[in-house]
């Protein structure tokens, strides 16, 4: 919803003269940030006075435990219940989070009236049943991405979310909530790249994805990532987040994807490739290439977008812009900090990094957005769920029980257009990223070019 607030029409922008508009957009973002941050720490965007949203966590595997650790740092999202259907994991959750009530069955957690929001951290093929039951139980839902391991599951989840507008639904596309990346959103949409040429993302890590358990059935269950029938592959588990970021920044959707994969390092009988290359095609000639591997860690992970005027690289919580020699002067970059990176000076685009503003005054301190994208994603879920809950409560009190259409319209008007929500991926965005990733995985598995139609991206 907040997209609308920052969405600068690129065509109008170019027509109006790029340098002035880009400078205005960037300075506006800087100043807004300065005004909002004041002297307070910006490690969190909520504070101890933010009303809490009581959370239930379903799935206490490695990612569930990471979620629980992040929630422990968020006063606005107290963890009050945990469910895991594997006894040892449930017992572990009780040891590590004794204040949270334990449930073996997620259905029992959903009947707990103390739980307001549910975070689903199970395998993707288990999401659908849990999401549908959670929405039916009246809970706000955070579903890890990808939403589903099949198009049908993803569509059913997104549809259920749309049918329950009184409850906040967030897809776990964490980069959408991360302040550094969100800070760059108006800048990217203002057309500072010039005409988008191509993008490239990389994710290099040496890790097997294989997990062990003394229990054979359990081991099979927890290694769903290595099972071709259940796994969305590297394209869905990792590439989806980076591809979504590029599509989001540049406001584009691919029309086809080609790819191939190989198992090079981890020849343990797995059916899912450990190394994948993908190329997405777009209508306007733009393309996105992705390299994903579990076999080598050199150069880690990053995203880079190339345009006719400049290239922008994002690496973790840092970003740089590299201008072409013939690109028009934007203006503000003269005052911006520069770092030697990749053999040439890059203009630092990190939130909080620019120290000079109009009249040379210091705008604000170095950024303290030091938490992980997952932390900011969960923070957004708690905050936005509270916003939806209270807004719907006010609506019902004023006008009685409204129909879904009225709720949707009212929420859009009251929250979407008033900058009242923290940035987060909604069900449609989660669905579309999911579809694109599953099509990419299909391209890898079939070694064929797979088309992505508008109908595919429509719920």
């Amino acid at each position: 919803m907040t997209d609308q607030k920052h969405d600068v029409n690129r065509r109008n922008f170019i027509a109006a003269g790029s340098s002035l508009a880009a400078m205005a957009a960037m300075m506006q973002a800087f100043e807004a940030k300065a005004e909002e941050s004041g002297d307070e720490s910006t490690a969190r965007r909520t504070d101890d006075s933010t009303p809490p949203m009581r959370m239930g966590l379903i799935g206490y595997g490695p990612h569930g435990r990471e979620i629980a650790r992040n929630l422990a740092q968020l006063p606005s999202a107290p963890l009050v219940a945990i469910s895991d259907n594997y006894g040892p994991m449930l017992r572990r959750s009780k040891r590590e989070h004794p204040k949270a009530k334990g449930y073996e069955k997620f259905q029992d957690l959903l009947t707990d009236k103390n739980v307001e929001g549910v975070i689903i951290a199970t395998a993707p093929h288990e999401h659908k049943a849990i999401v549908l039951a959670a929405l039916k139980a009246g809970k706000h839902v955070y579903c890890e991405a990808p939403l589903g391991h099949t198009l049908a599951d993803a569509r059913a989840i997104a549809k259920a979310a749309a049918d329950n507008p009184k409850q906040n639904f967030q897809a776990g596309l964490q980069f959408r909530s991360e302040p550094q990346r969100h800070f760059m959103f108006p800048f990217m949409r203002s057309g500072a790249l010039g005409r988008a040429v191509q993008a490239r993302t990389q994710w290099h890590k040496k890790t097997s994805w294989r997990r062990v358990s003394p229990n054979g059935a359990r081991e099979k269950a927890i290694n769903w990532r290595l099972n071709k029938e259940l796994s969305p592959g590297l394209a869905g588990e990792v590439g989806m987040h980076q591809a979504d970021l590029v599509n989001y920044f540049l406001n584009v959707k691919p029309i086809a994807v080609s790819g191939f994969g190989s198992t090079i390092q981890w020849r343990d009988g797995r059916q899912v490739p450990d190394t994948v290359n993908l190329v997405y095609e777009y209508e306007n000639g733009f393309s996105l290439a992705q390299e994903l591997t579990l076999s080598n860690s050199f150069d880690g992970e990053y995203e880079v977008m190339h345009g006719t005027n400049s290239a922008v690289m994002l690496r973790g919580s840092q970003a740089w812009m590299y201008k072409e020699a013939d690109a028009p002067l934007i203006g503000w970059e003269v005052y911006a900090r520069k770092e030697a990176h990749y053999g040439k000076p890059g203009v630092v685009l990190a939130a909080g990094a620019t120290t000079l503003g109009k009249s040379g005054k210091k705008l604000y301190q170095e950024s303290t957005f030091t938490q992980t994208p997952l932390f900011y994603s969960l923070e957004a879920f708690a905050y936005n769920s509270h916003q939806v809950k209270t807004t719907v409560a006010d609506l019902v009190e004023a006008f009685g029980e409204p129909d879904n259409e009225t709720v949707l319209e009212f929420l859009k008007d009251q929250l979407g257009t008033t900058n009242s929500l923290l940035p987060a991926a909604n069900s449609v965005e989660g669905y579309q990223a999911n579809v694109i990733a599953l099509k990419a995985n299909e391209a890898v598995n079939t070694r064929r070019r797979v088309e992505i139609t508008a109908a595919d991206l429509t719920i």
Binding site: E36, K362, T390, D394, E397, A398, F410, Q414, T418, S420
Partner: protein, 190 residues
């Protein structure tokens, strides 16, 4: 004398004579203020409540009995800036006093033309848990089963125990002026 008293009683208090109108979509309320940095405003489209009034009596000048209880959830007031909303809601003590409430006790029709009536109204305004008597001119328009009440009033935040917010900026504190203007258009229907 006795007859006059009975007529007066019926005119001013008999609920059977009044029609009840409830809040409908289409309402809006705006609070305009000023500060050392810039003018500001917050808006909401949520006005809840009911009004009991004899709609036919609005068509001719004179005093008439009317009863209305109106509320605006404080947290529904939005400026378009998240931080400013937080500052304003905190200043209005929204966690403890979640609503702005207006209770109408009397309407005097000053002039009526067609379905439009220019009136004076009396009642009380409750903000931050503090109640102040107020009177303000209002316009009431009738259209079928709909009744729309419009008006505005200027009040001081300090009269309601609110310290004008003074948020920090890197360049210094903002000074918010005490006076604010509340403008509303309340749509009701039977």
């Amino acid at each position: 004398m006795k007859k006059t008293l009975i007529v007066s009683f019926l005119l001013f208090t008999l609920p059977a004579m009044a029609d009840t109108y409830k809040s409908k979509f289409g309402s809006s309320v705006k609070i305009d203020g000023d500060s050392s940095v810039h003018k500001w405003k917050v808006e909401s489209k949520l006005i809840g409540g009911t009004i009991d009034v004899n709609a036919a009596a609005l068509g001719k000048p004179g005093k008439l009995a009317a009863k209305a209880t109106v509320f605006i959830p404080v947290r529904s007031l939005k400026s378009g800036k998240k931080r400013m909303d937080e500052v304003m809601h905190a200043a209005m003590n929204a966690a403890k006093h979640s609503k702005i409430e207006f209770t109408l006790s009397e309407i005097t029709v000053k002039a009526a033309k067609g379905t439009l009536s220019q009136c004076d109204s009396k009642g009380t305004l409750k903000i931050n848990g503090k109640i102040q008597p107020i009177s303000m001119p209002i316009t009431v328009s009738r259209a079928g089963e709909k009744l729309t009440v419009k008006g505005n009033i200027t009040v001081k935040m300090s009269d309601f125990g609110i310290n004008p917010p003074s948020p920090k900026l890197p360049s210094g504190n903002i000074v918010t002026k005490d006076e604010v203007k509340i403008t509303f258009s309340w749509v009701t229907g039977q």
